[in-house]
């Protein structure tokens, strides 16, 4: 992320609350201090107030130092919305809020019920979520994880009376500010930095309010706001979808300890242990649920890329066996597992691969039998000939006898 050069502008009016989660990682919640904390007691009670001058640079620095942040913007809050550009999120113009005339309802059309999507961040069966506030468009940045998108029929506008239609159409014309509309527009988006720090951007604070959490979406169905707020807080707090590598080893097939160097064409076994954080028990638990992890055996470029699968019976262990390439050199076992919403897993182990030693090649080949036979028979023949020549008697054919 590039740092915005806001040249010394300091956000004096940004309030914040700070919390430490069970993993020990910290969360900073940034919102407008004019809001009354009592209205948000379900979510914010338990967080300590931490009013301080926060500049965009310091907020980004916090992400670098692994403090997770929930950014709560609003339709009018411009300093935060300019910071959002750094994350690839472009908010609708100031004053514009999300409006949806669908579904037909008696509550104001600026309070939009959104069906909870199928997402690994959210619990199954979350009721529709009531939302009001700003919306943002999402850049094609793989670090962004869209959590909640606006409904297809919704749009962002500041005209909330029936005769405001022209304002909306003018927005699309040349020179207009553009129209934030449709299902590609996000309302709550997550962002995960390359190191794994998480930030969640929410377009309005009412999502967390006690009012919305207790309201009914339709007859007898309470809104899913409380469950949703819990889920996104848990994700940002690094409690769900948080993984780590416990250790990696490698060894030859048939051995158990790693070698200093492997020979080309060796069968090598690489194994790693992965744990996930379990928020209920508050501990790291071995996790075998990764089905698409891959191992690369790399020397400048990957020579081998293969999937590394969980071992049945050993929870949390993943193993793969492969044949070392017949190129010698310094190789690396590289695991670079990046998936949206999950902590990135990265591991590199350097291992030399040497060509076979002089006695590592196949010996006593069948093609050499004639040569062995020839050499041995020459030696035996020589011995016998020497014995006969030295010890034998030779009678000359012409005359006389020898001794």
């Amino acid at each position: 992320m590039r740092y915005l050069a806001l040249l010394g502008s300091v956000l004096l009016a940004i309030g914040a609350t700070f919390a430490k989660s069970s993993t020990g990682s910290s969360v900073l919640v940034v919102f407008d201090p004019k809001l009354n904390r009592q209205d948000y007691s379900l979510f914010f009670s338990g967080l300590e107030a931490y009013a301080t001058d926060l500049s965009p640079q310091s907020l980004v620095q916090m992400l670098d130092s692994k403090i997770n942040v929930i950014f709560v913007a609003s339709p009018t809050n411009t300093p935060l919305t300019t910071l959002a550009l750094e994350f690839g999120l472009t908010f609708s113009p100031p004053g514009a809020q999300l409006v949806s005339h669908f579904p037909e309802r008696s509550s104001p059309h600026t309070v939009v019920p959104i069906t909870a999507p199928d997402s690994k961040l959210l619990s199954n069966g979350t009721a529709p979520i009531l939302y009001s506030g700003a919306s943002h468009s999402i850049a094609p940045n793989p670090l962004i994880i869209p959590i909640l998108r606006a409904p297809a029929e919704s749009f962002a506008t500041d005209s909330i009376t029936e005769d405001g239609a022209d304002v909306i159409v003018d927005a699309v014309d040349k020179g207009g500010e553009g129209l934030w509309a449709g299902s590609q527009i996000g309302v709550v988006s997550g962002f995960q930095t390359i190191d794994g720090a998480r930030a969640t951007w929410v377009g309005g604070p009412e999502l967390f309010s006690d009012d919305y959490a207790t309201q009914e979406v339709h007859k007898g169905v309470k809104s899913g706001n409380y469950q949703f707020a819990q889920d996104i807080a848990k994700w940002t707090f690094q409690e769900t979808l948080t993984l780590k590598i416990d250790g990696t080893t490698h060894h030859l097939v048939g051995e158990t300890t790693p070698r200093e160097a492997y020979t080309t064409n060796d069968n090598v076994v690489y194994s790693m242990n992965v744990s996930a954080w379990n928020p209920e028990t508050g501990a790291w638990v071995p996790y075998s649920g990764l089905t698409d992890m891959q191992l690369e055996f790399t020397m400048l470029d990957p020579h081998i890329r293969t999937s590394i699968l969980p071992v049945k019976g050993k929870e949390g262990t993943y193993e793969v066996t492969f044949r070392a390439p017949d190129r010698h050199g310094v190789f690396k076992f590289v695991v670079d597992y990046k998936r949206k919403g999950m902590t990135p897993l990265r591991s590199e182990t350097v291992v030399p691969v040497v060509p076979p030693r002089h006695d590592g090649y196949p010996r006593f080949l069948s093609a050499a039998w004639p040569y062995y036979a020839g050499a041995i028979s020459t030696s035996i023949g020589f011995l016998l000939f020497s014995a006969v020549w030295l010890g034998g008697e030779f009678v000359p054919t012409k005359k006389g006898k020898s001794e």
């Binding site: 793989p142 029929e153 029936e162 405001g164």
Partner: protein, 240 residues
């Protein structure tokens, strides 16, 4: 705290029923650059035009509709009148707002020679865009009406981040090993060994008898010599 005021107002008795809107004379006309009309069809509420409409890169499509109050028949200018272009397979969407005149008439002209920015990318020519009309209002019940399926010329896909593909499994790479060094057939090596050892066979054949006598006498000589040496050794040891 404007938002909280609005929420508390909603606790007042509910509005009984909002009026209904109706779409009249919805029609789509497809023509090419010369003005020849290729398709001219009224649109029905229940069925999409079949076959789906197709536009070439120089064709023009014109859609017209009139929005009226269902009960009084008076024209209405709703708050939201959008055309939504949606490709469910590739998740591409485009929203185009329409201006509704005071007579309730709205029209949209799509010239493929200069397409507006609201048309989404169509990377797959076999998948059509589903075009629907979304009408929303503060005073009337909202209305969402699918209009027609539209095949547009193939466009470049929407831009993807260069690292996007690393967030999914990458293609597997197998190393092509050098072929094992070829060894000749064992039978050939055996034949070769046989050829190498054949002089011995010949030798044994020619000197067969001589070697037999030599082997027997040699054996006797060795046995006799060993026992003689043994006797001498014992005599020497007894003497010492």
């Amino acid at each position: 705290m404007r938002f909280l005021h609005i929420i508390s107002l909603s606790l007042l008795p509910i509005i009984a029923s909002a009026g209904k809107l109706s779409l009249q004379s919805a029609r789509v006309v497809v023509s090419d650059t010369e003005g020849t009309i290729l398709r001219n069809e009224p649109l029905s509420k229940t069925r999409l035009p079949s076959p789906a409409l197709t536009l070439d890169s120089t064709d023009t499509l014109k859609f017209t509709v009139q929005i009226l109050d269902d009960e009084t028949g008076k024209p209405v200018q709703p708050h939201q009148t959008f055309l939504r272009f949606y490709d469910a397979q590739n998740d591409e969407e485009g929203i185009q707002p329409l201006r509704v005149s005071s007579t309730g008439k709205a029209s949209f002209e799509l010239n493929m020679a200069k397409p507006p920015a609201s048309i989404p990318a169509t990377p797959d020519e076999s998948v059509p865009l589903r075009v629907s009309l979304i009408v929303g209002s503060f005073e009337y019940s909202p209305l969402s009406q699918p209009l027609f399926d539209l095949h547009l010329p193939v466009s470049r896909p929407s831009p993807k981040h260069p690292e996007e593909h690393t967030y999914a499994p990458l293609p597997e790479i197998q190393h092509t090993f050098r072929p094992e060094p070829k060894t000749p057939y064992v039978i050939l090596s055996a034949i070769g060994t046989g050829l190498v050892l054949s002089p011995w066979v010949a030798l044994i054949g020619l000197l067969g008898d001589v070697l037999l006598y030599g082997a027997i006498f040699g054996g006797i000589t060795i046995a006799a010599g060993k026992s003689a040496l043994g006797k001498v050794g014992q005599w020497r040891l007894a003497k010492a």
